[in-house]
């Protein structure tokens, strides 16, 4: 009886919408934030219908599903998901609306390099002989409502002078109910470029960041404020297409409009406001994966990042990357062991430096030039037996000749064997040797230890 009344009322509503401009607005809504907008419009009258779904028998349920289908048709909203309403029960009752976790890394060790900061440029790398707390991270996440999930990572770190710094590493919302295999992420987040850039330090297989990633993306990785669109292709194997649109300005957009950019191009910063879409950072990515056998999986990705740099009014940077991950895991694996994996990434950067006034000496004009850099790393991990992993990483990064000699563009390479023991998945003890080689400086040896603990909720790892 109730369902018949609401059917009539909704039919009127639907007709009204069909004949008015509201329909256009609704369609625009549907295109951008479809599920919340449309689903709410549907859900409102049947709010109590939602309750009745729980109670009614299967015939009534079939009826209501047919009604929603009919409304979808009349409203012109494709597949705005009927179960979004049902999902308002949220996750299983584990007693909390939010997962809270805390992970802390402690590094300790010694290096022959007098300037450790020059071979360990990452913000989460060891910085001094002795002890470093490179990352203490509070992670919060939970379902916001039936339409969004929320995530945040707040990082505290102690610098080489012993002062504590804080950063809002990530704070983003993620849609959960968009139709047509779409997903939107918005807020402050690591740009999905390659494999390691979006990973948090505690998920890394080595104690420090790869040289090439620090060269292209800076000490903190590439992350900014923006929005990311993702589409899961309807192919028989996994293929995801993503594009991030974000601000190109700030300390974590190193190859673009970072206040630290003079270290790359040597010129005075051309400070301009964002005026065109081309002043934003655009980062497309395609990621695909196949199961080669029952026990072997490969993931292949290609990424790019395009945006302005601050060497001149129309100066641009392009970065391209290719990444590969292969893993074998035994069919009867105990706690995920034994396994063997290979991960590799290669990146190329074209930094279009404009003619610019030298920051060091205003009398000098640096010429317009293309700063070309590239680099790669490859790492093999062998999970020998439960909770014991041996790893080896080889890597290099190099840059072409330029008018300004940048320390950040010096040719360098590194070999890093390491060994990790995971007493459980909540703690880690790692030892790593680094053999660094810098052009015109020479070689250095470093030995680092790392201890990690994690308390609270443990976010599951992606493949």
């Amino acid at each position: 009886m109730y369902s018949r009344q609401s059917k009539t009322a909704l039919a009127h509503f639907a007709r009204a919408i069909r004949n008015s401009r509201i329909r256009f607005c609704l369609l625009v809504c549907a295109a951008s934030f479809a599920a919340p907008g449309i689903a709410r419009a549907q859900v409102k009258p049947p709010k109590s219908k939602q309750d009745s779904i729980a109670r009614a028998d299967s015939i009534a349920r079939a009826d209501s599903i047919a009604l929603v289908k009919q409304l979808e048709k009349e409203l012109g909203a494709s597949g705005a998901d009927t179960s979004a309403a049902a999902s308002s029960q949220g996750p299983r009752a584990t007693g909390s609306y939010m997962n809270i976790g805390f992970v802390a890394l402690t590094d300790a060790g010694w290096s022959t390099a007098p300037d450790i900061g020059a071979i360990e440029r990452g913000d989460h790398d060891p910085h001094v002989n002795g002890f470093t707390i490179p990352n203490a991270e509070i992670s919060l996440d939970g379902n916001v409502d039936p339409y969004f999930k929320g995530f945040s990572n707040i990082v505290l770190k102690i610098d080489s002078a012993g002062d504590t710094g804080i950063e809002l590493e990530e704070a983003y919302g993620l849609t959960t109910s968009l139709p047509a295999n779409l997903q939107i992420k918005f807020g402050q987040f690591f740009t999905e470029f390659g494999r390691q850039n979006p990973q948090h330090p505690h998920a890394w297989s080595f104690l420090d960041a790869p040289l090439v990633l620090v060269r292209m993306f800076g000490p903190d990785g590439l992350r900014s404020q923006g929005v990311r669109f993702s589409y899961l292709l309807p192919t028989s194997f996994y293929t995801e297409a993503l594009v991030t649109v974000a601000n190109a300005t700030g300390g974590t957009t190193s190859s673009f409009r970072s206040p630290d950019s003079p270290e790359i191009h040597g010129g005075v910063i051309d400070d301009r406001r964002v005026q065109h879409a081309s002043d934003l950072l655009i980062a497309p990515r395609i990621n695909t994966s196949f199961d080669l056998t029952e026990t072997q999986t490969v993931v292949l990705g290609a990424s790019a990042a395009f945006g302005p740099n601050n060497s001149g009014p129309s100066a641009k940077t392009q970065i391209y990357g290719a990444d590969l991950y292969w893993k074998w895991k035994a069919a009867a694996a105990e706690a995920g062991f034994p396994f063997l994996s290979l991960q590799s990434e290669a990146l190329w950067r074209h930094y279009g430096a404009a003619q610019r006034v030298s920051e060091a000496n205003p009398a000098v004009i640096l010429p317009s030039e293309v700063l070309k850099d590239d680099g790669a790393y490859a790492q093999v991990l062998w999970g020998i037996k439960p909770r014991i992993v041996a790893g080896l990483r080889g890597e290099f990064a190099r840059g072409n000749q330029s008018a300004f000699l940048s320390e950040l563009r010096r040719d360098q390479s590194r070999w890093s064997p390491n060994f990790t023991w995971y007493p459980t998945e909540f703690s880690k003890i790692r030892v790593q040797y680094n053999y660094d080689n810098r052009k015109a400086i020479g070689t250095d040896h470093s030995l680092w230890f790392q201890l990690e603990f994690l308390i609270g909720a443990h976010a599951a790892h992606k493949f």
Binding site: A35, S58, I59, R61, A62, D81, T82, S83, A84, A86, S87, S88, Q89, G90, P91, R92, T94, G95, P146, K149, L174, T176, S177, L178, N181, Q183, L232, L233, P234, T235, S236, F237, Y238, E240, N287, S289, F290, D291, E294, T297, V299, K327, K329, A331, A332, A333, E334, A335, G336, P386, R387, T424, E425, I455, H458, A459, A460, H461, K462, F463
Partner: protein, 308 residues
């Protein structure tokens, strides 16, 4: 212009590939996290469903890799059956986050929580990881009790009936047949294990407590000192003493557990190591839930019988 045409063709081809896969069958696509749940789903769904399990029968269900191919499987699923007691906590959430499938969102009819209605054992009163890998909702290894399987089957039948009302009657009659078969098999299993009621057993992990409760075994200890913590020599020495004291003569292991450790303890105690996988498909020939329990019962009967 030519490029646009090429892109259009490519897009159509890609959609075609997906479309072909979609239309190949009108069966409901049911995904189960583990093969035991998948087997029960096949019994209930019959030829109306196509069931896929994510975890392999031989691998540790706590540590399954969140492979991207699973994202595709979940994206196209009409229903997902999960254990519901956090067994899959380490790998299912990131898959679901990327699956973008409202049909299997929490609370939707297509999301089947197998443990719903099962009285889970060992629900912790406090959360403390110094006690090992404790699941906050209770011990998740309930499927090895045939009575739990009946509750799981009921949950599956009820949800399949909601998603696919026109076949609800079929699911219900399959459920009735499954229940009848469990009842008759349970009587048989209980008859076979009756001589060993009260027998002392040792397990590798705390994964046979529901079986012990159902068939009246007493678990002396586990080779793991705490759930998920690798056996240490000092703990194994203690287990050996306990086994000798209590005259425990069998050690139950699953394919992904360290059989060598169990064999070492067995040598010291003149016990037998029994291969008792809890997943159908782990032993050749044992492809269904019934085969799986048959194998465990047979192993226990042989192992405990030989000691008599």
């Amino acid at each position: 212009m030519r490029l646009t045409n090429f892109l259009k063709t490519a897009a159509l081809a890609l959609i075609g590939i997906g479309g072909a896969a979609t239309q190949a069958t009108a069966q409901l696509r049911v995904v189960a996290t583990t093969p035991d749940l998948a087997s029960v789903a096949r019994e209930i769904g019959g030829d109306r469903v196509n069931v896929v399990a994510l975890a392999k029968p031989t691998e540790d269900p706590h540590f399954v890799d969140a492979k991207p191919s699973f994202i595709v499987t979940l994206n196209r699923a009409d229903a997902l059956i999960e254990g519901g007691a956090e067994l899959e906590l380490g790998w299912l959430p990131p898959l679901l986050e990327n699956a973008r499938n409202g049909k299997i969102n929490a609370g939707a009819p297509g999301r089947i929580v197998a443990s719903e209605g099962i009285r889970l054992l060992e629900i912790p009163t406090s959360f403390d990881r110094s006690k090992g890998d404790i699941h906050s909702l209770g011990n998740p290894h309930f499927m090895v009790d045939p009575v739990s399987a009946k509750i799981v089957a009921r949950n599956i039948a009820s949800h399949l009936g909601q998603i696919d009302p026109k076949n609800a009657a079929t699911y219900n009659s399959n459920l009735a047949r499954f229940n009848a078969r469990i009842d008759s098999k349970l009587a048989e299993w209980q008859r076979q294990l009756a001589p060993y009621r009260g027998a002392k057993i040792v397990t590798y992990h705390r994964d046979f407590i529901y079986l012990a409760q159902r068939f009246g075994f007493s678990i002396v200890d586990e080779l793991e000192p705490k759930p998920g913590i690798a056996p240490s020599p000092s703990h194994l020495a203690q287990v050996i003493l306990e086994m000798k004291r209590d005259n425990a003569k069998v050690i139950l292991v699953q394919p992904f557990q360290n059989r060598k450790t169990a064999e070492t303890v067995a040598r010291q105690t003149a016990a037998t190591v029994l291969d008792t996988p809890q997943q159908p498909g782990a032993v050749s020939g044992a492809t269904t839930y019934f085969d799986m329990v048959d194998n465990i019962v047979r192993q226990l009967g042989n192992g405990l019988g030989a000691q008599k």
